[in-house]
Symmetry: C2
Subunit: 339 residues, 2 copies
DNA sequence: CTGTTAGCGCCTTCAA
DNA sequence: TTGAAGGCGCTAACAG
């Protein structure tokens, strides 16, 4: 039977539609007997409230908009798993918006998200800059829709609830380890496009380099592995002899770099020590083994959703800027050791 | 200014709300002059139609439900990229439902999807069996909501529009190649959980093995790399000496198998030749290089969305069962060749 | 070409 | 504890 409405249920249970609505939304306000009768009918008819009508009347959607840069990035995908599990706890649905390369018309898209009546927005796009931050703030204020930044941040302000790790510190630590290993020519492999998260990693790297009185080398390349492989090859031709340490802002970049080096006959980690960022599946599957920063990405997703839920419910958020701990995973040995 | 409604626009443009609605939904029915006036006001006020009201009145949501097993599987993530680009063309939104391990209450979840008034459903869960197929069919018939299976299929029936590749043929071809290489002890590495897609791969494998008069070896393991690594190690202890060819149903399984072998001192591909499935990033980043079946996964996503759109629009779908071509990518050389 | 008028299905006071 | 009634913002006939 197609689409029972609240009227059908009311009629069959011999009550008014108001009572049906109550047994669903305020059960305690309905006499147990009638409540059960209504529930029985609901089950019999397979009734599910029409989400539109409900949303229109209640002004709530139990839906959150999730804005992501590119699904195929492992960190994004894993975060989504965390988000979805947490969202399910609150019976929230996820409306996805994939930015891909059309980041130009983000304002338009954000308005669209708002128009779709989401109760809140999870912003997973790490390519954040001042302009976007301002835009997000405007959206949050203007439309009164809470926004949470997950695995990204805007360090110059903290009006938006944020959850991430300390990228600066992580990069700083990685670089320090390379220094401690005695590496002298340490490169940072980062993305061509500039944005906050990677800028922070860069700063952390630069600080450690400076403290060690070494020369900084920042190589900006594409996030696309088919492109950066070429970059890396070029790099080799010119000065590979001198590179002996690398911090890459993403595991996938680290892995394709390692591959390029190995193809040129370099030994990893003997000749070149490489660190990645995120501990994605790429990192654990890569050979030679890749050391990396372990980011609790699933937790970040879950916590982000939990924080957003709090905001939606109007609960006070004591700490707006939430930093989760990271750790560094060493997978240096070339012997066939356990992982 | 928060939330302009159609009334505000109508008032400001000095027309009735019907005219505003028309300029948005049937522009050709409005005199150009008034149309432009209305559009100007719309822009000024930053008006966006409330999706709920629109949906309630029009019975359409321009939203499709997307049901996925696990976001972190590269094939799923990449398909979503394809879907989202295509969906954007039609201004469709994506409502995501991640199954994860709670596949038990799929009926409940599907009803939920329907209640959320999606115009159609994209089903990306490849772990399909008869029970689920029946359920999906019921949903499509009962609620008149079109469903498209993407990168999965149910081979015993074809009531649901489907788009995928020929898994049977692909596995058959891979196995034949191993045979042609002269491999004698060819294993199939598949998932512990049984489901259609992998069953078909298994059949293809078995057919080729049988034709070559070899002995079949099917190893069922977990899709989780941290678990299957252990499996593989055990396997080695007992009979690794005899394995010289492998077809894995997923790239990630293939890669973790290769890693296990290499750690035990085996040479790939000299001692053991390994093929994967999907040509994900894992495959291209893996070393030793992994040969694999290239599945046009982004296309599958886009086509699936396109087909669903057709169904939603009531256009006839001539071909319900759509098979896209696959190809086999050989990455056998151990020399440092170009990819 | 434009305005008027019913709903769409549900929630939420307000009374009873 | 329950029912009646008025919207929520928009679309879609139907008139004009």
């Amino acid at each position: 039977m197609n689409k029972a409405t609240i009227y059908n249920v009311a009629y069959a249970a011999n009550v008014s539609l108001a009572t049906v609505s109550r047994t669903l939304n305020n059960p305690q306000k309905v006499k147990p007997e009638t409540r059960e009768r209504v529930l029985r009918v609901i089950k019999e008819l397979g009734y599910k409230p029409n989400a539109f009508a409900k949303g229109l009347a209640s002004k709530k959607s139990t839906t959150v908009g999730v804005i992501v840069p590119d699904m195929s990035r492992a960190s994004v995908a894993e975060m989504l798993n965390g988000i979805s599990v947490e969202a399910r706890k609150y019976s929230y649905s996820l409306l996805m918006y994939v930015l891909m390369d059309e980041k130009a018309n983000e304002p338009e898209m954000l308005r669209e998200v708002v128009a779709s009546q989401v109760d809140g927005i999870l912003y997973l796009n790490d390519e954040i800059n001042e302009e976007q931050y301002t835009l997000l703030n405007m959206i949050q204020d203007e439309y009164k829709v809470p926004i949470v930044l997950a695995n990204t941040l805007y360090p110059y302000d903290n009006k938006l609830v944020t959850i991430c790790i300390d990228y600066f510190k992580a990069a700083y630590e990685l670089t320090q380890r390379l220094v401690a290993e005695g590496r002298k020519h340490i490169y940072l492999l980062t993305t061509a496009r500039k944005y906050m998260v990677n800028d922070l990693k860069e700063e952390g790297y630069l600080k450690a380099i400076k403290e060690a009185k070494l020369e900084p080398h920042v190589l900006r390349t594409s996030g696309d592995i088919s492109i950066n492989t070429v970059h890396f090859s070029d790099l080799i031709q010119n000065q590979s002899a001198k590179i002996d340490g690398v911090v890459a802002v993403r595991d996938s970049i680290a892995v394709s770099f390692i591959n390029s080096m190995v193809e040129k006959g370099k030994r990893v980690p003997e000749d070149i020590s490489v660190y990645g960022f995120q501990n994605t599946k790429y990192a654990s599957l890569a050979r030679p083994k890749l050391s990396t920063v372990d980011i609790p990405i699933i937790d970040i997703g879950a916590k982000a959703m939990a924080l957003l839920k709090k905001e939606i419910d109007g609960e006070p958020i004591e700490i707006k800027f939430n930093v989760l701990p990271h750790s560094i995973i060493e997978r240096k040995t070339t012997k066939y050791d356990k992982e």
